[in-house]
């Protein structure tokens, strides 16, 4: 029977990555010096599972590597080794290395053997540092070894005396099974010895009082017999002697039998060993042949785990929908006006079922934000020790659910914000103490739902933002004119301006060439925005607002000529009637209008997209929709506002091609196509 082991690989990889996360979290929770047994046990189990699985599924490098980690953890578990920061760091490094190894194997890439051997060496140094005699064990690899040649003597037969202890049957072993197996090896003669049998009134039928004198004839190797008795060697007294030795020693085998002490044959006649290896080599081959180490040719398809309750509710909704549909279709077969009420209630049911179905389907793509948050304890741990700061990370709202795509895309901007808080927010311990604050700084990651948005906040209790310092810096960098009047909030927003960095020294922590402007750009590309709240000396909060899903958008429909466009509601500030006297021409900027104290450019949608306006909308008289994105604003001149609605986003690029100023398309209620405006793109056009 051949079984394709590859079918289990995907599950193995998934559970191994989960196991690595468990190990990482566990290692971070370990505090040096104390041994939290439950925590160490959990880490050990995860390593153990990865080792067992990788060995079984043929990833021997992974298995050998994990074996060393496991040995180290085992010593911590048994209390033979102190939990020290150094050991924990080495293990953390190994977790990373293992993760890379597995990822490489999963996608069929080359494993970085240099990094693997470096980490393995570190582990071995850590392992052997406190144990001088332990050089051998680390190198031990779990590949089944062929039995050693000296164990296997070729004989013409064996004389076995087998005296099981009385409780043998209670281990689930059965002497008959062993006889059956022995019989497969050669000609078997078994003689039962009844001498140990008690009187019938004392006999417990569950105990074993018999012993056996066994003669097995044939060209059989010792290890084949040992294998059969392997499981019971502690539950019996036995002796195994070859016919040849028996004859040579010329004494009855019974004399060798000492209770409780199995006699093991060590002396092997020389002329017989000479024959053994050839046979051994042939026989052993199928044993040591590894399962084929064939990495999957392509990266595995993306999969998500879904709570069964979500699937159940989805199926339930589909059921409801089918019932409503059949009700409506039977209604349609002989419809007259008396049934109008029924039709209307059926349609409203259909509407509510469709909406619930949509929510359930969206729910499948929802994942808890903890998928992103879980990487931060490690990040904070590593960075704070690198920077010499004492920082505690608090997480809350980890179970807040958000669309899978959002999860994937928010990770990088969030890492940047947290790095920023660690680097520029929280001060060095001595500065904190001087400012009357505890040396331990706190960075708080919080997520929650608000309206149709998910809000993720990064809060630190550091020094806060200094609006004036930011402003001066911005002037120095030429980001703003010196005479610009800005509110406190606008001054904070300056750190999102391109080419702005307030750190005196660009560190390798946050100064990685990508600035906060990129963070904001990425967040706005997701249809979200960032807000800053800060108090000098107290700390800052960066709040990211994101839509719950990227598949559906809350939009404002606007009419331009005969066309309908969708403006993402999140970017709309306000709308009003544009009177001709509000429009002024500024050299180099074209048409602008005055909104309170600000002059904003006007984008004429009809000109931009080549649409003819309806007669009524001619002239500058029309509706102006003020939109905002990336800190700038402009007015879109349209004919009419049609209403707000949720629209399903369809990619324009996959179905047609990319168009400047348009981000996607949707199908409107009447079946026609509506284009969704790309506000950041339009703003770039307006400010050009």
């Amino acid at each position: 029977m051949t079984i394709d082991m590859e079918q289990f690989h995907q599950v193995f990889f998934e559970e191994s990555f989960e196991g690595l996360d468990v190990m990482e979290t566990g290692l971070l929770n370990l505090s040096p010096g104390t041994a939290d047994m439950e925590e160490i046990n959990t880490i050990f189990r995860a390593a153990h599972s990865i080792k067992g699985g990788s060995g079984t599924f043929g990833f021997m490098d992974v298995s050998a590597f994990t074996h060393v980690m496991e040995t180290l953890l085992d010593e911590m578990r048994d209390g033979r080794r102190q939990v020290e920061q150094r050991g924990v760091n080495v293990l953390l490094g190994s977790v990373d290395c293992l993760r890379e190894m597995l990822a490489a194997i999963q996608s069929g890439d080359e494993v970085d053997s240099k990094s693997v051997s470096t980490h393995q060496k570190e582990l071995e140094i850590e392992l052997n540092g406190s144990r001088s005699e332990a050089t051998g064990e680390a190198a031990e690899i779990v590949v089944p070894e062929p039995d050693k040649a000296e164990d296997s003597a070729v004989n013409l037969g064996w004389h076995i005396i087998f005296c099981p202890h009385v409780h043998l049957m209670k281990t689930g072993n059965d002497p008959v099974r062993m006889f059956r197996e022995l019989e497969e090896l050669g000609d078997l003669t078994v003689e039962a010895d009844f001498r140990g049998l008690p009187e019938i009134q004392d006999l417990d039928p569950e105990e074993c009082h018999l012993s056996w004198d066994i003669r097995l004839e044939g060209d059989i190797e010792r290890h084949e017999i040992d294998e059969i008795f392997d499981w019971v060697e502690d539950d019996c007294d036995m002796s195994i002697i070859s016919f040849a030795d028996e004859a040579e020693k010329n004494r009855p085998a019974e004399e060798d039998l000492v209770a409780g002490e199995p006699i093991v044959e060590k002396v092997v006649p020389a002329q017989e060993t000479a024959k053994a290896p050839t046979k051994q080599a042939v026989k052993a081959e199928p044993e040591v042949k590894r399962p084929e180490n064939k990495p999957a040719a392509k990266p595995a398809s993306a999969s998500i785990r879904v709570d069964t309750a979500k699937i159940d509710s989805l199926i339930n909704m589909v059921g409801e929908l089918v019932i409503t549909q059949s009700m409506l279709s039977s209604l349609g077969e002989d419809f007259d006006m008396t049934k109008l009420d029924l039709l209307q209630s059926g349609l409203s049911q259909l509407e509510s079922h469709t909406r619930e179905l949509q929510q359930s389907a969206m729910g499948i793509r929802m994942m808890p934000i903890s998928f992103v948050f879980s990487r931060f304890p490690r990040l904070v741990h590593d960075l704070s020790s690198k920077m010499g700061k004492q920082i505690e990370l608090k997480l809350s709202g980890e179970n807040t659910e958000v669309d899978k795509t959002v999860i994937e895309l928010i990770s990088d901007p969030l890492v940047h914000l947290v790095r920023n808080s660690l680097d520029h927010g929280v001060e060095m311990p001595d500065e904190r103490i001087a400012a009357g604050k505890p040396a331990l700084g706190i960075v708080h990651l919080n997520a929650f739902h608000r309206g149709g948005n998910i809000v993720i906040e990064v809060t630190d209790d550091g020094n806060g933002l200094d609006g004036d310092k930011l402003f001066n810096k911005a002037v120095e960098k030429g980001v703003v004119e010196p005479d610009t009047q800005l509110t406190e909030k606008e001054k904070f927003d300056l750190i999102f301006a391109a080419g702005f960095s307030t750190a005196e020294v660009v560190s390798d922590v946050s100064g990685r060439g990508v600035g906060m402007d990129v963070v904001r750009k990425n967040i706005e590309a997701l249809g979200g925005h960032v807000e800053i709240r800060s108090k000098l000396g107290k700390g800052s909060t960066f709040a990211i607002y994101l839509p719950l899903t990227l598949a559906i958008l809350d939009g404002q429909s606007v009419a331009v000529g005969d066309e309908t466009y969708i403006v993402p509601l999140a970017s709309v500030i306000e709308s009003f009637n544009l009177k001709p006297e509000m429009v002024s021409y500024v050299a180099g900027r074209g048409e602008t209008f005055r909104l309170r104290d600000e002059y904003l450019p006007i984008l004429r949608m009809d000109n931009l997209f080549g649409v003819h306006r309806t007669e009524s909308g001619k002239g500058s008289d029309g509706l102006l929709v003020v939109v905002e994105g990336q800190g700038t604003r402009c007015g879109l001149l349209v004919d009419d506002l049609l209403g707000q609605q949720q629209v399903v986003i369809k990619s324009l690029e996959t179905n047609y091609r990319k168009i400047e100023g348009i981000s996607a398309a949707t199908i409107l209620g009447d079946g026609s196509v509506g284009l969704i405006l790309d506000i950041p793109g339009l703003l770039r056009l307006a400010n050009r």
């Binding site: 559970e15 189990r45 040995t71 049957m169 281990t171 689930g172 072993n173």
Partner: protein, 120 residues
């Protein structure tokens, strides 16, 4: 058809063991840890138990000990899946009443061979 209780906290190992045994015509009951397996074993009888050792909630050795104490499982063969380094585990398992062990890593053929040996 012989029934086998296969216990492992690792989903991939459990799938592999279960798939192999089902393919050979055995009825397989899966347990995700010792507690789960014990609950599934109670009130019925299986012909063989194959269990991992390191598991959360209840490990394989405790599971074997608990099962052995049940009247239905007095003589039932119970095999542990163990790694080669676990020599003391083997001794512990035997003390708890394990019939024998299968050394990890193993392939489906080795598993079947051992199971056939025990079930006869």
């Amino acid at each position: 058809m012989a029934s086998i209780l296969a216990v492992d906290d690792s989903a991939s190992m459990r799938q592999m063991v279960s798939f192999t045994l089902k393919g050979a015509g055995y009825e397989v009951i899966e347990g995700v840890d010792g507690v789960d397996a014990l609950n599934k074993a109670k009130g019925r009888k299986v012909d063989l138990v194959v269990t991992d050792v390191n598991m959360p909630n209840m490990d394989g050795i405790t599971l074997i000990k608990e099962l052995r104490a049940l009247p239905n499982y007095k003589f039932t063969p119970m095999l542990m899946l163990t790694t080669e380094s676990g020599a003391d585990k083997k001794a512990q398992g035997r003390a708890a009443g394990a019939t024998g062990w299968i050394v990890k890593p193993f392939n489906p053929d080795q598993l079947l061979k051992t199971v056939k040996k025990v079930l006869g």
